[in-house]
């Protein structure tokens, strides 16, 4: 991987340095932002309890859990469909008591809630060439007709598993990936976005 600009080293996901990578001229084609202060949890419905869970979540957070890979935003918490009876809850800001306590009133007896706030790293990817860069390592169809606002997918990023969703109408991608291998993701992204210019913004590592 020559010529990807400053080398993104093996830093764990949260610790990548804010910098411009790849092509230095012009506006960056891809802007990657490390998302901070999100609470994350995997919510898995108990056997035969998905409908009851959906009602309980609707009652507590005002959103309907998607039955397909979709992203729904309830304000304080959003849900991403990961699979049958399984969702990623994304709370912002991260609740002080932790995700398990935060979701317990709505899910008690209906679902298993497992905090992943530290296990997953969330990045936001935007820019005019974000789809071109993602296409180099994400195998699914990224065309706006197929993957538009509110879409979600659990797929691959190179050799890593990622959860992807589009949280707004501006075509911003959010990606959640395992913390331990996030450094590999950064290297993959830096290589894929090198020709477009990549700007990394990490509030924790300015």
């Amino acid at each position: 991987m020559a010529e990807t600009g400053p080398i993104i080293n093996d830093a764990p996901g949260h610790e990548v340095a804010s910098a411009r990578y790849g092509r230095p001229e012009g506006p960056p084609g891809v802007v990657a932002t490390v998302v901070q202060n999100r609470g994350l949890a995997v919510v898995t419905a108990g056997r035969g309890k998905a409908a009851a869970l959906t009602r309980a979540i609707a009652g507590s957070f005002g959103v309907e859990l998607p039955a397909t890979p979709r992203y729904v935003d309830g304000g304080s918490v959003a849900f991403v469909g990961l699979g049958p009876g399984r969702w990623l809850a994304v709370a912002r800001p991260a609740p002080c008591a932790g995700m398990e306590a935060f979701l317990a009133p709505a899910t008690k007896g209906l679902a298993a809630v497992v905090d992943q706030s530290h296990g997953l790293v969330v990045l936001r990817l935007a820019g005019p060439h974000v789809r071109d860069a993602l296409a180099k390592f994400v195998p699914i169809d990224l065309h706006p007709r197929v993957l538009g606002p509110g879409s979600a997918a659990s797929t691959l990023a190179g050799q890593l598993t990622v959860h992807v969703w589009l949280s707004d109408d501006a075509g911003t991608f959010e990606l959640a990936m395992a913390r331990s291998s996030a450094g590999t993701f950064w290297q993959t992204l830096a290589a894929a976005a090198a020709s477009f210019g990549l700007l990394v913004e990490n509030p924790a590592s300015p």
Binding site: M1, D10, R47, S117, I140, L142, R179, S180
Partner: protein
């Protein structure tokens, strides 16, 4: 036909090239670029290929052949070229076997001829040609049979030096390659008349269209034939279609992109030559890109490839395909010769005759191999003022490094010699059906078209134009438009029929596929592998008469060009020898890739360390600060040991670390162990089914060692199970088996017991887990656990699990477990706090002699304690073999219980776990050594088991080992030999209990 007879022939062009015409063609005369071939400098223009620029400069000898080192020139004008292979570029970028006919000319291009020594004109190994009768097909197998030992040492190196093509660079490739994914409604392969119309029809309908073209310019034969489309010359018409396609938002044009393979479910592989037409790739751009294209529909419009004809010495430089001759004239404004003979079995040659005449070349003769006079060819010959020989055949080429004349058999008149410097050969056209055949679909022989056309097609693929056997331009335009519209319609995009532009009157190609070879000498079929008609005769005579056998015996079609101009011609010859129809002989199997693909582009960015992902522990940065030596454990990087200044080797460091843990206290990041959260009303029942031992009886707040079996009764993995509350457990797996165990559990839950209400989630990445071990562990622990938590032995006894807070309010899980055999804890915190926890532990232990230890010390201590690990849980051992039979509960069912009871698995003579000590305590043990009886002969029949793990024990002061020995426990106290033929080890060892250290486990308590 376009009449540009006004342009002067052979006028000196701006590049000074003698054979470049003064006007016409699609080269950019406003710019002149320099290139070199075998060190000589020449000039050309943008828009040239290396082949067209060489021909423009009168360079016809471009290489030496593979086996006979015969002089070779340019045969074709496209990717089917078998002959004009060069080494392109120099140094680390040197690229062998590059086709001059597809290499786009750039300023400063360097090329060299291949397979010649000392020079292209004077090649010593051309002597091979004189020995041709000895070097026929199969000669390797016959000639170099004896003595067998000579093959590897003498024959093969000699043959490799003499044969072969270009040389690889021999240095690391300095360029990058990448892969990308593309999804579309309609993939159009090829941008000739059919492809352009297909893309236009589908694109106008609103479908997402990808148009892939191997050339750097769209248009296919429209660029090469002087035809009129919609009343204008074909190439500007193609450019106007291209412009419209570029204006459509969902149409993507991929020039310089060859679709190389058809795969399942509408998946295609394509290679884009992003920067092959540049001296070096621009910054941040790859040289090539591999596209994985997923298309709901595809239109194969790959055109057709012209067939050469066999005659003696038909490989001399100057013998070219007729279609290529007019491509050089029309597209590149290059005249490949000034006096031509056209040899045809096809009316299509008429266009070449006309092109040669228009360009000012003399056409000495038109030889029509067909018996009946062809009016089309006759009138073309008459207009060109050339002699027409009907029913004739070229017998032989005169001239060695270039064509000087041909001897033509003229039926009744006998043989006539025609002086000429180019022979244009028109043997008809083979539809380019490879991509339609990659999934095993056999093509069909069409007697009417005298060609193989696609038979059954892969789902979603349509074939249009010349690739489907369509002989006319008008028909190709129509077929493309129809196929494009239908493909878009299938994807839900209803479009309007595209107007089919009118074309000028055209000759419909007709041909006969095979012509008998007259005269003695070499008549080549496969120019790249030097396979002649005589080789095919020989193959047949020796019994290799089936198409696939003949191919392999002669290697016909097995060179880098994969027989694009030769494979079918060879089969036509074979069918004639066998007296079969061509359909009866059939074809060989078409397999991807259609075109040579570099390994670089298949690897993409997955080079070096990026070959696979790397996983980093939460304390990675801290470990680097300590100077840790890292080791790859699966995808993880773990600290293997922490060298101290002055230590001579790893053993010294590891010994120090072990002593520190045994006498004081140590810390080790164990976050890499798999961690799985198991919840739900049936969680305990589920764990009882997947673990050999009982977990439902585990009280809340306690940890239990657990053993998991596979369905077949062998051990799958081991780990711990902690009960956090009535319905929640966290289980650990070994680092290596984390993914496998989760998969196993998910399978069991979703498939075997879907009625159980339990939920699984991997929490490996969520938690940092640090082992704190040694007699002083509790003192250090006190320094990091918040003060309200009682850490006394009574409050946190051995195998307790507690929820605590650490380092000022961070929620943590505290497990009192030990792998080393000392007083031990594991502290789990959310991963983002792992680094801070480690630093606080080091601070808290600084006055207590705390020492970080790595995986080596971990391994030494587990061997001292006789704990099994991956070396013993190797997929071939049962719980009984590992001395863990007591863990397999008899009171409940579990996965693997029944199969573990099979007679062979309970045989008392099965190798089982034992401890091993060298009788001479100064001797070193080696893992992998086999155990044999003390006085047994060192042969396989004496084998009684092997050494699985060894370590130098600082605690006991000598090497010790674990092993699997026949009879197991019953052998304690006996002596065996650890015999190691690989490392010349033969050590007498004493068999003992595998627990070498603190067998009563007293150090764990208190």
């Amino acid at each position: 036909m376009i009449d540009d007879a006004g342009s002067p022939p052979l006028a000196a062009a701006s590049d000074g090239a003698l054979f470049r015409r003064g006007s016409g063609g699609l080269v950019d005369r406003s710019r002149t670029i320099a290139f070199s071939f075998d060190g000589t400098r020449y000039l050309g223009h943008p828009g040239d290929t290396l082949a067209s620029a060489l021909l423009a400069n009168g360079v016809r000898l471009v290489g030496r052949s593979f086996k006979y080192h015969r002089p070779r020139g340019v045969l074709t004008a496209g990717p089917e070229e078998p002959n004009a292979l060069v080494e392109l570029r120099a140094g680390a970028r040197r690229e062998p076997n590059t086709r001059a006919t597809t290499a786009e000319l750039y300023d400063g291009l360097e090329a060299a001829s291949q397979n010649r020594w000392p020079s292209l004109r004077f090649d010593l190994l051309s002597l091979n040609g004189a020995l041709g009768s000895m070097l026929a097909a199969g000669f390797y197998y016959k000639t170099f049979m004896w003595p067998a030992s000579f093959w590897e040492k003498v024959y093969e190196p000699l043959i490799r030096r003499a044969a072969g093509l270009g040389r690889a660079a021999g240095e690391a490739d300095p360029d990058t390659y990448e892969k990308s994914h593309l999804h579309c409604d309609v993939l159009v392969i090829g941008s000739g008349p059919a492809g352009l119309m297909a893309a236009l029809a589908a694109g106008r309908a609103g479908a997402r269209v990808v148009l892939a073209e191997q050339d750097f310019r769209l248009g296919g034969r429209l660029l090469a034939d002087a035809r009129l489309v919609a009343g204008e010359p074909a190439s500007p018409w193609a450019a106007s279609v291209e412009a419209e396609l570029r204006s459509l938002p969902d149409v993507r044009l991929l020039p310089r992109t060859t679709v190389v393979g058809t795969y399942d479910h509408g998946t295609y592989a394509a290679v884009e030559k992003v920067a092959d037409h540049l001296p070096v790739p621009p910054p941040f751009e790859p040289r090539q890109r591999l596209w994985r294209i997923v298309a709901r529909r595809a239109v194969l419009a790959a055109g057709s490839i012209e067939r050469p004809l066999a005659f003696v010495d038909n490989d001399r430089p100057g013998v070219m395909l007729a279609g290529a001759v007019r491509t050089y004239i029309n597209r590149f404004a290059v005249l490949p010769g000034s006096r031509a003979v056209v040899y045809a079995t096809s009316d299509d040659a008429a266009e070449t005759v006309a092109a040669l005449a228009r360009a000012g070349a003399e056409v000495a003769a038109v030889i029509d191999a067909r018996g009946e006079a062809s009016p089309v060819l006759a009138s073309a010959a008459a207009r060109a003022g050339s002699r027409l020989v009907t029913g004739g055949a070229v017998e032989r080429v005169q001239g060695r490094r270039a064509v000087q004349a041909v001897d033509v058999r003229t039926g009744a008149m006998g043989s006539v010699r025609f002086d000429c410097d180019v022979v244009a050969v028109a043997g008809g056209w083979n539809p380019t059906i490879h991509l339609a055949s990659h999934q095993g679909h056999r093509p069909l022989w069409s007697e009417a078209l005298a060609a193989f056309i696609p038979g059954k097609l892969p789902p979603g693929l349509a074939v249009a134009g010349a690739a489907a056997g369509e002989p006319s331009l008008g028909g190709a335009l129509m077929a493309g438009a129809t196929a494009g519209l239908a493909a878009a319609g299938d994807c839900g995009f209803a479009g309007h029929a595209v107007d089919i532009p009118a074309t000028d009157a055209e000759t419909v190609r007709q041909s006969v596929p095979r012509v008998a070879v007259a005269g003695r000498g070499k008549a080549f079929i496969d120019l790249q592998h030097d396979v002649t008609t005589a080789d095919i005769v020989l193959a047949h005579r020796e019994g290799f008469a089936a198409a696939e056998h003949m191919k392999r015996y002669t290697t016909l079609g097995m060179a880098t060009d994969q027989g694009k101009t030769s494979a079918l011609s060879g089969l036509f010859v074979l069918s004639e020898i066998k007296g079969e129809t061509i359909a009866e002989t059939g074809t060989t199997t078409y397999r991807p890739p259609f075109d040579p693909v570099s390994f670089g582009v298949l690897g993409g960015h997955h080079r070096g360390k990026a070959f696979r992902p790397t996983r980093l522990t939460p304390t990675h940065a801290w470990a680097l600060e300590q100077g840790a030596v890292l080791v790859e454990a699966g995808a993880w990087l773990r600290a293997q040991w922490y060298p101290n200044g002055g230590e001579a080797d790893w053993l010294e460091s590891v010994t120090r670390e072990v002593r520190a843990v045994r006498t004081r206290v140590g810390v080790c990041d164990v976050s890499t162990l798999g961690k799985i959260d198991v919840q739900g009303p049936d969680a305990a029942a589920f764990l009882d089914l997947v673990y050999a031992n009982t977990m439902s009886t585990l009280p809340v707040g306690r940890v239990r060692y657990g053993l998991m079996l596979r369905e077949d009764g062998f051990v799958l993995d081991d780990g711990t199970v902690a009960r956090l509350d009535d319905q929640r457990f966290v289980v650990t797996t070994t680092t290596a088996n984390a993914a496998k165990v989760l998969q196993h559990l998910e399978h069991a839950l979703e498939w075997l017991w879907p009625g159980l209400d339990a939920q699984l989630a991997s929490v490996t990445d969520q938690w940092a887990q640090i082992a704190l071990t040694g007699p002083r562990a509790r003192l250090v622990l006190r320094g990091v656990v918040d003060p309200q938590h009682d850490l006394s032995d009574a409050a946190v006894p051995h195998l307790a699990a507690r929820a605590v807070t650490v380092i000022g309010g961070v929620a943590a899980r505290l497990f009192r477990i030990s792998y080393s055999g000392e007083l031990g804890y594991e502290i789990a915190v959310p991963a983002g706090h792992g680094d801070a926890l480690m630093r606080r532990l080091m601070d808290a232990g600084s006055t207590l002699g705390i020492t970080p230890y790595g995986t080596e010390a971990l391994a030494v201590m587990r061997i001292e304690k006789g704990h099994v690990a991956g070396n013993e849980i190797n997929g071939q051992t049962t719980a009984r073999d590992l001395g863990l039979a007591r863990l397999v509960s008899r009171n409940k069912d579990c996965i693997g219980r029944v199969m573990a009871g099979r007679p062979a698995l309970v045989d008392p003579e099965r190798p089982a776990l034992v401890g091993l000590k060298p009788v001479d305590r100064n001797q070193r043990l080696r893992p992998g050594a086999h155990m044999i009886g003390e006085h047994a002969e060192a042969i396989a029949a004496s084998d009684e088991g092997y050494v699985t793990s060894v370590a130098y024990s600082p605690t006991l002061g000598h090497w010790l080992g674990l092993g699997l020995l026949a009879g197991g426990k019953a052998r304690h106290g006996q002596r065996v030999r650890a015999f190691d033929p690989v490392r010349h080890g033969d050590v007498a060892v004493e068999v003992c209990d595998p627990v070498f250290y603190d067998p009563a486990g007293e150090r764990l308590h208190g």
